[in-house]
Symmetry: none
């Protein structure tokens, strides 16, 4: 079951290789920070994938920092990506390869050309030299790391143009000792029946090689092409979460895992429990990218198991198999029908257990909370990834969370004008009126923007009463527009991640047509959660008087 | 070439059947009016599809009105959808069938169950009666219309459960005289290798039948499943524009047409000129649905032929086949060279050419611009996907963009307080002082948030001078925090997408530690770009006086 099951002896073992952090990071508009990379890598490891490609050491400062202190994994192997050595020098003396072998990666994946046209036109080098570059680089990598893999770039176009040369590239990697030789449909133009034929032919021609497949979605067949390759003999499949990637994206790791686990006799080393995290991992990526999840995404989308229309729904109520190809809970998703949502209840109870709240299925408060959460979600709240706000909501309804303070009023002012020196400046100022410890505190602060000013002013009003708030800091601030078709009148969701000196991190959210109000709600929840978790008692008038 | 080529004698002729207006219309949130239906139907006819399924006469008033006065087609046949007769009555006396045969459709497509489980559990009728319902209904429809087709609902699940019964349903439709028998993967759970096997088996068992295929995208294989069926012997394929449809959508007609026309030896009756309309037709659907097109959509997406990264771009400049699976112009799309921090000079010059600026590599202004863009990107600007701001920047440096207005000052005020009725409310108000046409305009507006208020106030100050701004609207607003580790003091990037009534869309951006300032910069660029592209002259004091 475990992802580190080597599986050399299991003919049906398929290895999942995720390249969200490398090939996915090439996407227009995607710009992962180190914290994003670590969070996504950990989620992939938890999901049970075999390989996590973390990036390209030596290519940019983010990847250098990631590989300098990589996360430690339970199952997965961390892979570093790079190019085969340059022409005309040895692998040992290639600075690019040095960055790879000196990185803290467990395994290396090196890309090289497998299409004669590219060798001639893009690289402009001798075709024999290209073969040597492949073999030397793999052999060198293998001497320094537990695994070396070869990414055969443009393999399918290459095979169609010149099968002998494309095969020679595969054989060179095999001769170098590659653990995996990954056939890449780099331009994404190959159709499934071609992939089947070509992979079967390679498996026949280079029988010792262990083949992988790497597909792009330019004809909308990335997942199908990947499956076709596995059915034709490949045993490693590369993809990205939600199909993230340049142009039309890569093969979607989420769909691949679900279809292979639920609809094939391949063994992918992902347990049933791990499969139940698929929806969560998919949403996590979108949160990190600060974009709305695709409602229609196979298996994990919000609409993937939505039922509309009376006849349809009544058939589903009689037996869900009438209109569902799988049980949505298996992948952590849920059915959307208005009536008697059993899946919702059990998900819900599971979420309570996660925050340490043991409630019985029959408890009436569960129903009320379920209704309230559904109502908030229809307004645009999404508690996926904002566990602190979810926990506060639940515990407030159970009467466990005291009111620590009460915001009477705030005013924010942003002023953009020319100053005395002739520069255009923008200033933000916040005034707050807060009731705390029986007193009305009136404070003012300026900041780099309205939310910063509000945060500073609010803290000024609270810290005297609750010193535990002093060390905390906001570590991330995300804004998402929920109804983009309404432009600047759109409903806005703000997520705030906070951190305390003791290392604790928590995320809260607020939703409103007014971005300022949404930000305030998220800030207020963040302070309250911190106070609740620190076990602080609300300050009464007497203790307040003593403290002043 | 024409879509009305019957093709009975051409073994490689594949018929395209589009069901955007029927099955696509089932999608949550989709609500076509009659005008939408007519516009989309005409576009499909122009594109050269063989069948346009317009809806379900008798099911709702929109479909009744559409079929009462349907558009006349050059090539396509108009199809009406409905159910086979009810159990226990004759086809002649079934009111549902009467609505179908009395409609102005050229052909009818009737759905019936092909899965014994559904016959037993959902319909709760005798299995033999179900077979008679199929045969009778087809025979009756055929007596009244030129073509009758049978949609075999749940065919693949049915075949897997009880192949004899599923085949009996196909044979009943064949006995009734069906022109096409369409095998439907209604729940979308079937994988391509299964589709291949099952379709081949049906073709063998019912050799006289002409088979079609109808797939859903629940495993992300709708297009691949459709192709697999064609390769196994089906000769009609059903899809929807952009894969519109319930849950995860239907097979995408756009991708099917492109792959079949460009990558197969099937004849689909779509000419090269018609193929060049694909991108336009895809965008037309999104316009009608009032949603932003999917940038990553295969063949027709804005990013489908986008290239990023220096090495990559210089190879594309040498020969586009290095990184493009087809020439984008064939499907009416275009190449995009993405500007990013990886941009080298070759990216840069290519990007200029795209916006119609011919600059020589040796031009000193190129170097200055390159330096400026790098500097802005190090501050957090990213011109990926903000082409309008990039174009403005370049053309401003070349002295081509006039100053249309000058913002002297703005002030934003957000107030959260208890109103007289005891509700907490948040109000935003903006005042702007703008110099335009030699006059200082001072305007105020309120809004749902500070940016909305600013947008409204600024437009109030400008529209009198530039009426072309009146119809434009902000269609998306995105905020990204660039330095999340600094919490609410973080640097913010705001991207604004705007749309004009003529269908033009453009994206601008602003970067600042102050979210309000960043939003203002993006708004300012959006107005300026619209004015520049509309060829508007800046308003001088004299014309301004005349206009007041």
């Amino acid at each position: 079951m475990a992802g580190n099951d080597d599986g050399r002896n299991d003919e049906r073992r398929v290895h999942i290789f995720d390249t969200t952090l490398r090939d996915g990071a090439q996407t227009q508009g995607v710009d992962f920070g180190v914290a994003d990379k670590i969070a996504i890598a950990r989620a992939l490891d938890d999901l049970g994938v075999d390989y996590v490609e973390g990036g390209w050491p030596g290519a940019n400062p983010t990847d250098d920092r990631f590989f300098a202190e990589p996360p430690s994994f339970k199952n997965a192997k961390l892979v570093a990506f790079g190019m085969t050595r340059r022409p005309g020098r040895s692998a040992e003396n290639d600075p690019g390869l040095a960055a790879l072998v000196n990185s803290k990666a467990d395994a290396l994946c090196m890309v090289g050309k497998a299409w004669d046209f590219h060798v001639d036109v893009a690289l402009e080098i001798d075709r024999q030299e290209n073969l040597k570059m492949i073999e030397d680089s793999i052999a060198f990598a293998k001497s320094r790391k537990s695994e070396a893999m070869f990414d055969a770039e443009h393999f399918f176009d290459g095979f169609k143009a010149n099968p002998e040369y494309a095969l020679a590239c595969v054989k060179a990697a095999d001769a170098g000792g590659a653990r995996w030789i990954v056939l890449c449909d780099t331009n994404g133009g190959t159709l499934p029946h071609e992939v089947s034929e070509i992979v079967a032919e390679v498996a026949k021609q280079v029988p010792g090689a262990r083949l992988g497949i790497h597909c792009h979605n330019d004809t909308e067949n990335a997942v199908a092409n990947s499956l076709a390759a596995l059915w034709a003999g490949a045993r490693q499949v590369q993809g990205t979460l939600n199909g993230l990637g340049e142009r039309c994206g890569n093969a979607n790791t989420i769909s691949l895992i679900a279809s292979l686990a639920l609809k094939s006799d391949f063994n992918i080393g992902v347990s049933n429990t791990q499969l139940g995290h698929l929806t969560h991992v998919s949403r996590l990526l979108d949160d990190r990218l600060n974009r709305a999840p695709n409602r229609h995404q196979p298996y994990v989308g919000d609409s993937a198991f939505a039922h509309k229309g009376g006849l349809h729904v009544s058939a589903v109520e009689k037996d869900p198999r009438t209109y569902e190809h799988i049980d949505p809970e298996i992948v952590g998703n849920q059915r959307h029908i208005v009536v008697s949502d059993q899946a919702g209840r059990s998900n819900f109870l599971a979420r309570f257990r996660e925050i340490g709240l043991e409630l019985e299925a029959g408890d009436k408060r569960v129903n009320r909370l379920l209704e309230e959460v559904k109502d908030l979600e229809s307004q645009g709240y999404s508690f996926d990834g904002a566990e602190a706000s979810f926990e506060l909501l639940a515990r407030r309804r159970l009467g466990e969370v005291p009111d620590y303070f009460r915001m009477e009023r705030f005013r924010l002012m942003d002023d953009r004008r020319w100053n005395a020196r002739g520069d255009l400046i923008t200033e933000s100022e916040a005034t707050v009126t807060v009731e705390v410890g029986g007193q009305l505190r009136h404070e003012v602060a300026s900041g780099n923007g309205p939310v910063n000013a509000l945060d500073v002013a609010l803290r000024k009003a609270l810290v005297w009463a609750y010193p535990v708030l002093e060390g905390m800091a906001l570590s991330d601030y995300k804004v998402r527009i929920l109804t983009p078709q309404e432009g600047t009148r759109a409903v806005t969701r703000v997520m705030i991640e906070s951190a305390a000196p003791d290392g604790q991190r928590w995320t809260t959210l607020g939703v409103s047509p007014n971005i300022v109000e949404a930000s305030f709600t998220a800030l207020e929840d963040s302070y309250s959660w911190r106070l609740f978790k620190a076990g602080v008692e609300p300050l009464g008038p007497k203790s307040a008087a003593a403290r002043n």
